[in-house]
Amino acid sequence: MNIDLKAEAITPRRHTFSHIARRFGVDKPASRYEEATFDVQPMVNFHYRPTYSPQFELYDARRTRIVMNDWYVFRDPRQFYYASYNISRAAMQQSFDDAVNFVEKRDLIASVDPAWRDLFAAWLLPLRHVEWAANMNCQLIADWGFGTQITSAAAFCGADRLGIAQVISRIGLLLGQGTESALKDAKTQWLEADVWQPLRRLVEDQLVVHDWFELYVAQLIVLDGYIYPLATGAFDRAGAAHNGAPLSMMTGFLGDWYADNSRWTDAVIKAAAAESDANRIILGEWFERWSARAEEAVRPIGAMVLGAEGDAAVDAAGARLRERMIALNALEAREMAA
């Protein structure tokens, strides 16, 4: 283009959208995250009630018991919008691919103590079904949640959970030497083995919860708050004595992902709790109800992997989760004694 205009001749007339300037109280440039999320969801003047739930509007804050004056206080510290999310996950996936290729090329799985390898398959592979349910739960939050800030992050988390389920599946194909046998065995365990039934019951019970914020607490805080620390902590460490390092290389991304996701879930819980005592009471109620269930559900899995030390590992995960909720001001410290 061959236009030399004086700079002042092309001065912007405004710096961002009006709805964002109203939030800032001033018209100043906004970030891509802010422009992509603030106030994007339609708020009023819906034309028809949903035929599948006529008691609600199409987007309706009353779909949860949590009450917020402004639903745009759930800022994602990662500031994910679609582009930054995908670029981040492409990189995360690449590091997993590199690890698996490294292990596969050198046939490192053959060097793992076979008993540990089988135990590893027994605890890791059924978890892909838990991830699949987590995916469905995130879709429900993206569907019925309120405000683009939380629903878009939930949609990304849902995509993460499908991706994690697929990564675990890929490990399963590797453990099955290129066949589905290990995945099929794991699914049979998931459906039938006693050790998995309390967890499967819990997961199916979550699938009929319609309060999306309750599901947020039940899945993303509580259930993830038990499973991820165990899988990436005590379970992983138990493999060290059995030359489990190649397997740890492949599951290392789980810990990275959980740390990343927790930055977001911490921010959400903190904001909801800071809003009101009423919210804090509801969050506490949900936390107690679902953590009691989760603790009971993971206990047999802890025992399967860690034997006599399983209970202590589960208790430690529960205690850490409770401390986290207290630090976010979502639980009273005195409840620790209970």
Binding site: P42, Y48, D143, A159, S169, L173, E180
Partner: protein, 508 residues
């Protein structure tokens, strides 16, 4: 035993539907409570063939690469004053219509494909729906980021979500999408994935994207191109989903046919905004609405419905009306906007001689006889300083919500007008197509939030026009009124002064 190598299909199955199981602690009907109430019968969800076998790892990598390229263009557009490269400031009105009317629909599509991703009982379809869900979020967000730059210089863009929830002409796209998202999951698939994304998509996106290309809007062109691979997945999903419904049970055929009839007409009425944009708002024209309709609907749609005939599906009802109206529809729509530009967040303008010549050529049977005289009269009025604005409030169609200005087929001097009774009230519709839709679900359409009714009821900021416009967040004297005399015109002329010849509208 040597392990047998898994086929791609088996592998993809392991990565998707292999994750799923039949619940036993909860009833399946409680886990998927919305799968049966529409009357659609699915006997075997496993019969669903995944049309594209995309795993998340491939998705992330592919999409990340596209985003890197797209944002490089968006950045350079901002750094290099890309807005100076467009043909004429009037072009921006197409962009305004797009961000006010279409971008919010991308967002709603995102949310509702998440609904399908949660609530369809078939695991294969759930996976396809969730990829589309985040694709649509992508479209919404990349459109905001692209158009954000124009917002810094041009009017009518600055409060698009607020306006989408309120403005009279934006209730046309909003009610269209609310209609789909308030329906059951199978009607949604038929309406959005099939009727909209498959049958009518070329009439929505192609005109906007080619319009951008012809008019120097490189940023919009880039996001349009970048969305193409997403859209081809969406189209495939729409076609395969409808085939699947038709194949599962014969009893599904009449239900799906009813939805095709309804959503064809709903989509067609929505497209009157796009047709008007094509024929009137692009300084450099791509093709006329009439030509686009012939190519993308009459020919392509004809072949599609011939193919679906083996399931017992026929062409949508009232396709003949759309064909008969194609020489009139866009001129009548432009007339509405010209009349009510004082209440719109975009501009309209005098149709100059070159543009009239183009319209005469494209619409030889209708334009000179019925519409040219009207424009000449409006020009005279404007030259006398009495630019015509209609200060009354129009009656809106209860279904499509377009002001009642479309005429009877074969009688361009008579406004088409239908009446239905429901619950002791009278409801007005613009056409047999809209009346059928109303009569089939009167409880639903009686609920519609009609902007004009709402103004009369005092729900829109006050009883006077300036109060209503404030409530709309229209910057009066900048966002609205004729292009002639607007701040945008002044700015554009200042930018272009001595730099380049003013592009005559309709130059080709």
């Amino acid at each position: 035993m040597t392990p047998r190598k898994m086929s791609l299909k088996q592998k993809y199955g392991a990565y998707t539907r292999g994750l799923d199981w039949k619940p036993t602690y909860q009833r399946e009907d409680d886990v998927f409570p919305f799968a049966k109430y529409e009357g659609i019968k699915i006997h075997d969800w496993d019969a669903w063939e995944d049309p594209f076998k995309l795993t998340m790892d491939a998705y992330w990598k592919f999409q990340a690469e596209k985003e890197r390229k797209l944002y490089a263009v968006i950045d350079s557009m901002a750094q290099n004053n890309g807005q100076l490269g467009i043909t004429d400031a009037r072009y921006l009105n197409a962009v305004k219509l797009f961000i006010q009317g279409v971008t919010p629909l991308e967002y709603q599509a995102h949310r509702h494909f998440a609904h399908l991703a949660r609530h369809l009982p078939g695991a294969g379809l759930r996976v396809a729906a969730q990829m589309q869900s985040i694709d649509e979020l992508r479209h919404c967000q990349t459109q905001i980021h692209t158009i954000s730059h124009y917002n810094k210089y041009f009017d009518g863009i600055h409060d698009f979500t607020h306006m989408h929830d309120r403005l009279w002409y934006l209730s046309v796209p909003k009610s269209f999408f609310d209609d789909a998202t308030s329906a059951g999951p199978f009607e949604f698939l038929t309406s959005i994935s099939f009727a909209f994304e498959y049958v009518l998509t070329n009439l929505l996106f192609v005109p906007f994207m080619s319009g951008a290309a012809y008019n120097g809007d490189m940023a919009t062109v880039t996001f349009g191109f970048s969305a193409q691979s997403d859209e081809s997945r969406h189209m495939t999903l729409g076609l395969e989903a409808v085939r699947f419904l038709l194949e599962q049970d014969e009893a599904n055929v009449p239900i799906v046919q009813g939805w095709i009839d309804k959503w064809f007409w709903r989509g067609y009425r929505l497209l009157s905004l796009v047709g008007m944009m094509m024929d009137y708002m692009l300084p450099k024209k791509v093709m006329s609405w009439g030509e686009a309709w012939e190519t993308y609907y009459e020919q392509a749609g004809g072949a599609l419905f011939a193919d679906l005939a083996r399931y017992g599906i026929r062409e949508p009802k009232y396709a003949d009306v759309a064909k008969a109206e194609k020489g009139h529809m866009t001129h009548q729509a432009w007339g509405i906007f010209y009349n009510y530009t004082h209440a719109a967040a975009m501009h309209t303008w005098d149709i100059d001689e070159a543009h009239m010549a183009w319209l005469r050529e494209k619409y030889p049977d209708t334009f000179a006889q019925h519409y040219e005289p009207r424009y000449r009269k409006w020009r005279e009025q404007a030259e006398e300083g009495k630019r015509f604005y209609n200060n009354g409030l129009p009656q809106l169609c209860q279904v499509c919500q377009i002001p009642m200005a479309f005429t009877e087929v074969g009688d361009p001097n008579t406004i088409s007008f239908r009446v239905s009774e429901h619950g002791g009230d009278r409801f007005h519709t613009c056409s047999d197509g809209c009346k059928d839709i109303f009569d089939h679900e009167p409880e639903k359409y009686a609920q519609a939030w009609l902007p004009v009714h709402q103004i009369f009821q005092g729900a829109c900021g006050g009883a006077t026009l300036p109060e209503v416009l404030d409530w709309y967040h229209i910057n009066q004297g900048a966002d609205n009124m004729d292009y002639a005399g607007s701040p945008e015109e002044e700015q554009w002329n200042r930018w272009m002064e001595g730099r380049r010849p003013v592009v005559p509208v309709a130059a080709e």
